[in-house]
Symmetry: C2
Subunit: 405 residues, 2 copies
């Protein structure tokens, strides 16, 4: 008999609780697993011995289904990055203490880049001190910027939100007779995956977004204004999708002062809006898709949620097979019909690395996404789960604040 | 035999196309009605004799169902307010010319306050020149600020978007261990209906939104900061819903300069965010729900969409009964089960007036919504339509740009 622990880390997504359900549901099937501990606020819960008994919290299949349709991290999250052991091993010792004291034989860490670094460091540490605790990383991030894996859980739902919302914004932008420009600012500080996913609308016959800017391409304000003018000659309402992370003059993103002497508190969207207003002079607005793109579970991708649960379950089987220091990854076998398999990669190969849009996904001009990318994106946003509704609002599964304190 | 015309006006909503379908579908049932003309860009289409033949555009029941799930105005919109006839009657004559030339016996104007003013003025003009064209207003606005009617088509879907999204934002805000404040800025320049609708989450057992500010209550920054501090003592993550229209110091809303010497391009949310940051110093962010709250058809209320179609149909029956200068309105008969009837009101009683939140809907402190309001709001957000999906994205019905040119 052994206990296991699971934690959630990094920024919220719509799929991170589904991966928790995957771990939990798989653990229930294993007679050798006794308690399933939830670590509160990511690895901080292990460090501080702040664990909750998941079996007493998730009591039914209905609870699991509700948790799958609940965005964000039910166990809380953290932005904690483990120090190097040479610098400070006190945290490592605290972690080992909790795991030993709680008789935890396997720990599953659902998170992004930083969490995979934690998986890597801890697995090396456990090996050195001969502590037999398996540690497995379950990837998640709306940024889709993890290496090796075809895509990350959480990305498909965020991409679906972006596509559906941009589609609706196109309709909203086309009502008046005067020419206009609409700039939508989409998350992605270094990689343009999420912004690029708005191009799936082209597969529905939409000409918009007419311009798509990603951090992978060098950005020039002059070229941007030229692009906008060109599109305005073709379309009454020009729609622009832009990654929050494109490179702009110093001070714009940090909230200091831009070319126009304005203070930009809201980032790149406002900056481009003001640039169009002052240089072109037409009706223009900017829209920040903000946290809605990562937490709009009512609009999640069924593919994403199902995969997120499956990869959590696969993590448990992997640990039971004796693996450790691994991250679960997706390999895409084919697109017709869309087929993936779940495999493992060494955490060290994934930690602290970023995956960028392939060059062939971007058009030659560097201002839109090529149709070649659509086969990649479309399967990831496919399908809608049946959502349980209460009083017109999707129900959430939550744990009382007092239990998590 | 006669023709009819229909136009859409004002800001987009999720329900305005459903009302168009209501007019169209009802007209198809009437053997005496020949052509159904769509006026492009609201009344401007009538003024400029720019009409399209709806029967050649909407060809099937499937088209109608797609149109019902398409946000915004398929025929375009306008912000045109008719001048007073004493000042300039040339526009009136142009309108009469088009109606006579096209043999239009009834005109249906779907819109908000300004559109009802147009209905009123035109009906008086037609009476004076003895032109037998019935003119009927079909209300719509997410602001819900029209008099006499219990509520307006478009409001229920916007309220559902606000409630569902705020629910998800609550989850997104609760992940980290440090205290935080999240300010959500919601549409409503004069009336707080939409912001107040976020209180339906209290009926689901959520304590958030912990603070709700509407334009009907006098706003004080000092009191706001005191409120936030009080809520922070009770909750780790404080959630604030605020109407874009609350009264703040001169210059803040207009984008000049505020107390802190910052330029606020994004309105009240950013202003309150900066105020909390500088005065309280905790983690804080603001989120503008932006146009998504008026165009997110994927999340519309079935009640709203069904009612929007029904009130459009009722408008046609009303005109055929010989009425003119009327606006169709809802009267709520009871809440258990929710029952409304459609009646008429004189356009003059609705035009240029605003309906505000009743005093008893706001709590004594003026910083939240009373539970008494929930019976009013909850039925309006009830139900989800079956949405037709293509490639993971709700389909839209659109008219080619070239046809509308």
């Amino acid at each position: 008999m052994m206990n296991i622990a699971v934690a959630q880390s990094g920024g919220p997504t719509c799929a991170i609780n589904a991966s928790l359900v995957g771990v939990f549901r798989e653990a229930l099937k294993v007679p050798d697993i006794d308690a399933v501990f939830g670590s509160v606020n990511g690895i901080e819960g292990i460090i501080n011995n702040h664990l909750v008994d998941m079996k007493s919290l998730i009591k039914s299949t209905e609870d699991m289904e509700l948790l799958k349709q609940t965005p964000s991290t039910v166990l809380g999250s953290c932005r904690y990055k483990l120090p190097d052991r040479q610098d400070d091993d006190s945290v490592y010792r605290k972690i080992a203490n909790t795991l030993i004291q709680r008789q935890i034989g396997a720990f599953f860490y659902i998170g992004g880049n930083d969490s995979m670094d934690t998986v890597n460091k801890l697995s090396e540490y456990f090996r050195e001190i001969s502590l037999d605790v398996k540690i497995i990383g379950i990837p998640k991030t709306i940024d889709n910027d993890l290496c090796i894996t075809d895509h990350t859980p959480g990305f498909g739902s965020a991409a679906k939100y972006v596509a559906v919302t941009m589609h609706e914004i196109i309709r909203d932008s086309s009502v008046y007779s005067m020419p206009s420009v609409t700039v939508a600012e989409i998350m992605g500080r270094h990689a343009g995956w999420l912004t690029a996913s708005s191009a799936v609308l082209h597969a529905l016959g939409e000409s918009a977004p007419h311009l798509i800017y990603v951090p992978e391409c060098k950005f020039s304000l002059e070229k941007f204004l030229k692009d906008v003018r060109q599109e305005m000659a073709k379309h009454k309402a020009v729609i622009v999708a832009v990654s929050e992370g494109i490179e702009v003059p110093d001070g714009v993103q940090s909230g200091v002062v831009d070319n126009f002497g304005h203070k930009y508190l809201s980032g790149i969207g406002k900056y481009l809006e003001e640039s169009v207003r002052s240089e072109i002079g037409c009706k223009v607005r900017s829209i920040e898709l903000n946290v809605m793109q990562r937490c709009s579970s009512h609009l999640c991708s069924r593919t994403d949620i199902d995969e997120a649960e499956a990869i959590g379950s696969a993590g448990v089987r992997c640990a039971l097979n004796g693996d450790t220091g691994k991250v679960m990854v997706f390999r895409r076998v084919k697109n017709q019909p869309y087929t993936i398999v779940i495999e493992t990669a060494d955490a060290g190969e994934i930690a602290n690395k970023e995956k960028f849009l392939p060059t062939e996904f971007v058009n030659k001009e560097g201002n839109n996404i090529s149709d070649k990318a659509l086969d990649y994106f479309l399967p990831l946003i496919h399908g809608e789960p049946d959502i349980v509704i209460d009083k017109g609002i999707p129900k959430h599964f939550t744990i009382q604040e007092s239990v998590l304190k």
